[in-house]
């Protein structure tokens, strides 16, 4: 009896000093799901992913001519590139603002993205929700008409809802609207629409921590300008350090969604798609 008690007490006494380390417990128990998408856009369509506060994204977006020109046009690479140069800045963790210029129509656009909800790891908030607005100005010199500033404006707005369904798969749905103050009748008898609606869709399949396959699709809902098609793109993206490189095949020529929605005259399924790539470089301009 005494021996057993003695042994027990001796073990207790020694264990209180020998095994004095604290239990290691995780500090991060819940929080927003990381990176539903690698960056704020896929090819041309925006994602719910927003910039962190005081982060600057410098963005170069390119695409070339359609590949169905064959080897004679080196599958579109011989045709002039459409380029959008832009910067976006995270004002807060929820709000980013940006400006860019597209070589097509010399369109200068200003935009914002505001994150309303972040998907939580715990599932308490099952989706990420953000809104986006973009205001563009066609600054191209027009030979035929003398447009006022007001007449040159184009607009875009969308609500983006996305969910990361597993560690590998994220899907997004984006009801969106575009409006052009002025549309020109380029084809006799074809009256272009000023306003278009669509339900944009996007997705990401994560291959590993740095690589993903992506897609974006912008099907127009309701009336549309005759001769236009739904924009579609498939991409591959890779992240290295503060860079995200995106390569894709896309039907639309623009990187502003109002144009992708309203002005895409290429049908992806007829081979009217082009090679493109984006380079994103994110700089941290200070601590939050």
């Amino acid at each position: 009896m005494y021996r057993s008690l003695l042994l027990f007490l001796t073990i207790l006494l020694s264990s209180s000093t020998l095994f004095a380390q604290m239990q290691r417990t995780r500090a991060v128990k819940d929080g927003p799901v990381d990176e539903l998408f690698l960056i704020g856009s896929i090819a041309g369509m925006s994602t719910v992913t927003n910039l962190e506060a005081k982060n600057l994204n410098t963005l170069i977006q390119h695409n070339f001519g359609t590949v169905n020109g064959g080897i004679e046009s080196f599958y579109g690479l011989d045709q002039g590139a459409a380029v959008r140069l832009g910067i976006d800045y995270g004002v807060t963790d929820n709000l980013s603002v940006g400006i860019g210029r597209t070589s097509v129509e010399d369109n200068v656009d200003m935009r914002f993205k505001y994150t309303i909800l972040r998907q939580l790891k715990s599932g308490k908030i099952p989706v990420e929700l953000a809104i986006k607005g973009d205001l563009g100005v066609n600054t191209q010199k027009e030979q035929r008409f003398d447009f006022s500033f007001q007449e040159r404006l184009n607009y875009f707005a969308s609500v983006m809802v996305a969910r990361q369904f597993s560690d590998k798969i994220t899907l997004q749905v984006s009801p969106m609207i575009s409006h052009f103050n002025t549309v020109l009748i380029e084809t006799p008898g074809v009256q272009p629409e000023n306003t278009h609606y669509a339900i944009g869709m996007g997705g990401r399949l994560k291959l590993d921590e740095r690589k993903s396959l992506t897609f974006e699709y912008i099907p127009v809902i309701g009336s549309r300008t005759e001769g236009t098609y739904n924009h579609l793109a498939f991409g591959f993206e890779i992240e290295t350090g503060g860079h995200v490189f995106q390569m894709f095949l896309m039907s639309g020529q623009w990187f502003t969604e109002q144009h992708l929605l309203a002005k895409n005259t290429n049908n992806f399924f007829e081979g009217d798609f082009r090679l493109g790539f984006n380079i994103n470089r994110i700089f941290s301009l200070g601590k939050k």
């Binding site: 003695l6 207790l12 006494l13 209180s16 290691r24 500090a27 982060n55 503060g242």
Partner: protein, 184 residues
Amino acid sequence: MKQLLLFILIGLLVNNLQAQSFYSDNGTAEFTSSVPLHTFTGTSSSLTGMIKTDERTVDFFLDLETLETGNAKRDKDMLLTLETDNYPFAEFFGNITTPFDPDALNEEQAVKVQGNFKIHGVEKEVEVNGSITVTDEGLKVQANWALNLEDYNIEPPSLLIIKVDKQQKIAINILLKPYTEEKN
């Protein structure tokens, strides 16, 4: 036999009564990393530590996923490099090896601590210089040391082709408050 039992019981009682522990889970840990022409720091405010002055033991750990550099892409790279899914903590357990007076109020005392530091699944014996100041609130602890990434099988990450310096400067700062409950 009864006397021995009594002795052990008293020993156990005294051990618990004298157990003077100081604890916090909101200390600051910071690392400074440099590449040519650029230096950045990662900070966490979730450093957890406990010092038992009677046993002279020092016990610290940090959930590495709480470190932030101000750039989410860089944070992600850092966590991938440290393989935090497999090795979520940086931890140290050791002893104060130089004289330390727990009654010397408001006096910054330089101390040496020797023990095992573990990160990335690799444990090494280290000796760290620091200071402890006994205040009315508890123990203010500061320490700085350099961590050689290769010693812990950590491949220094690169920004494009420029490798991050193998030596990382580590600094901790924590106010440990008197703690009476057993933390285990």
